[in-house]
Amino acid sequence: MIAAAWLGLGVLASAVLRRRTARLVALVPLAGAGLTFLAARSTVPSISLGGLTAITGLDRAGQGVLVVAGVSMAVVVALHPTVDVSVARSIGIVGAAVTVAMASSDPLVTALALTAAIATLVIRWISLSPGRATLAAGRVAGGGTAALVAASSFLPLTGFTTGFRPAVVGAMLAIGFAALLAVYPLGGWAAGLLGSLRPLDVAPWLVLLVPVVLLIAERIPGGVLGDGIPVFEHLLLIVGLGSAAWGGLWAVRGPARTRYGRIFMADIALSIAAVGGGRPSPAVVGALVIVLTHLTLAPILLRSGESGLRWPRRVAWTMLSGVPPSPTFWGRLLVLEALAAGNVGSTIAAVFAMTAIFVATVMACSTTLPVVAGSGWRARIPDAMAWGLVAFAIAIGLAPQSISGFVFGT
């Protein structure tokens, strides 16, 4: 029902709304988040689709991620200077798809839902800006979902926990998740998108899809893959750490307009490396704190620097720097703790990435751009919303475990 509401509202909003009322597109993700928040755990064990246990319901962490992602998407729309109503259709379809993906315990249904989300975004991206970067999104992210779809036919691995089958399945899952999360060497498409599209058009992937895929990836191991676990974990560890270091470096060296996207990708890569290869407990908590921080600050930092919010942006960059007691400090500390339990090489790569991210945030803080100042109460609304988000980020930094527990459950 939640997925149907996302889909219906998205299609309706894109058909009904006009330029003057375009900002009402924010109601689509807000309604989706509200319905997800109100949804209680179903008393029916599962909704089956033939012999498939298609929908088993949302658990607490999944519910938390979907609610925060929906609210974050709504604020992204509300704070964006100009809104194209057709984005409502993409938001609706992606929101419905991630809800189904998160609520399903069947690998085929999850993979197909993620395919629908990526296909929707790719068609929109190519129609907005036909080019090498947007086509690469279809090629690589589409290939990633293909790997997940193919892996589903080999799961579960009952009776086949040794030999090539678990190794092949582990590799396919790792490649699939790496492609969807834009982890290098499968992440060039996202870097290209950040430079060629408006932030609002990239936001459904960044805010709605990535956190869900990260959480689904975290749930894959745990005895499911047999001999494939080392392949899955080591692949994600290596590509995740390499991607985090590379992303951090390019956040420092690259253009200012793509800096937030690079830092976001680097943080997600760190999280997936820790979730894949580190100690599970601190890695998962650290990744959730990092995701929560980004979902809180993305609406401010995705907005162009020239369009106002100078001081909220500066404070938001500080929250991302990793300086205590910013929320990212706690998140990255836990991720580092998880990685340090593995080997010293992982720790060095993670420290390098975190240092690069710190330098990039300092550079972003010190950059002063000419701002077009608005007047009247309408111009103050974005400021008030941005300060509210910053205040919430500060609260996460002051009580990271409590707030992440409140949002995602214990």
């Binding site: 689709l49 033939g50 012999g51 498939l52 085929l108 249904v109 197909l112 395919t115 296909a119 790719v122 068609i123 190519i126 129609s127 036909p130 080019g131 090498r132 947007t134 086509l135 279809g138 090629r139 690589v140 589409g142 290939g143 293909a146 790997a147 779809v149 193919a150 589903s152 036919s153 080999f154 086949f160 030999g163 090539f164 089958r165 092949v168």
Partner: protein, 215 residues
């Protein structure tokens, strides 16, 4: 009487090669029809009549939805449509064109599919007979087609190839969930045909209307 694995493989290879090479506005529907036909012997062996019905249904649905999408795209109000057959960017002229790269990919897919067929068991099927070969070949070709795609139509063909290959793989699992899983996986092919048809219909209406208005 057992089914000859080489015969199954030959039918699958032929269908996958045709799907790899097909271009144009009806490419998705053609790819789905040929793949369904090529995979049907494998589906019949493991899924029986219901298995063949799943693939046949996918083929029919792809043709019908492709046409419905095209008609829908032409009838509904014109918007600045995306032509799925126009390359998203113009690459430099090279010695080998897009079809050559696809042919090369189809050749590379043979040893990959062969290795998968003999080393990776699916469901309860013993792979030493090479029964997974046509499926693995069609899937690998689909991924290659995705990776060398130049147009939205190429992407849709790649997705539909992966969809039908995965659907047939689900039939080989031989469990209670194999048939619904196969049907669900095969559903993506016709949906890709619908989207491609819709985009084709929308984009084919624009230039005509504009030309008529200018005339």
């Amino acid at each position: 009487m057992g089914v000859s694995p080489p015969l199954l493989s030959a039918a699958g290879i032929l269908a996958a090669v045709i799907a790899m090479m097909v271009d144009g506005r009806r490419a998705v529907a053609i790819a789905v029809v040929f793949l369904a036909a090529g995979m049907a012997p494998t589906a019949a062996t493991f899924g029986g009549a219901p298995g063949v019905a799943v693939l046949g249904g996918a083929a029919v649905a792809a043709v019908v939805l492709s046409m419905a999408g095209w008609v829908g795209g032409r009838l509904l109000p014109w918007l600045a449509g995306l032509d799925p057959t126009i390359p998203a960017f113009a690459p430099a002229d090279r010695l080998f064109g897009p079809r050559s790269r696809r042919a090369f990919g189809a050749a590379i897919a043979v040893p990959i599919a062969s290795w998968v067929s003999f080393n990776v068991p699916v469901g309860q099927v013993a792979t030493v007979q090479g029964l997974l070969f046509p499926i693995a070949y069609a899937w690998t070709c689909g991924v290659v087609r995705l990776l060398v795609a130049r147009t939205v139509e190429d992407l849709a063909v790649g997705v539909s190839m992966i969809s039908l290959a995965t659907g047939t793989a689900w039939l080989l699992r031989s469990g209670t969930d194999s048939l619904p899983g196969a049907a669900l996986a095969c559903l993506v092919g016709p949906l890709a045909a619908l989207v491609a048809g819709w985009l084709n219909g929308r984009s084919s209406r624009g230039p005509h209307a504009r030309i008529e208005a200018e005339a």
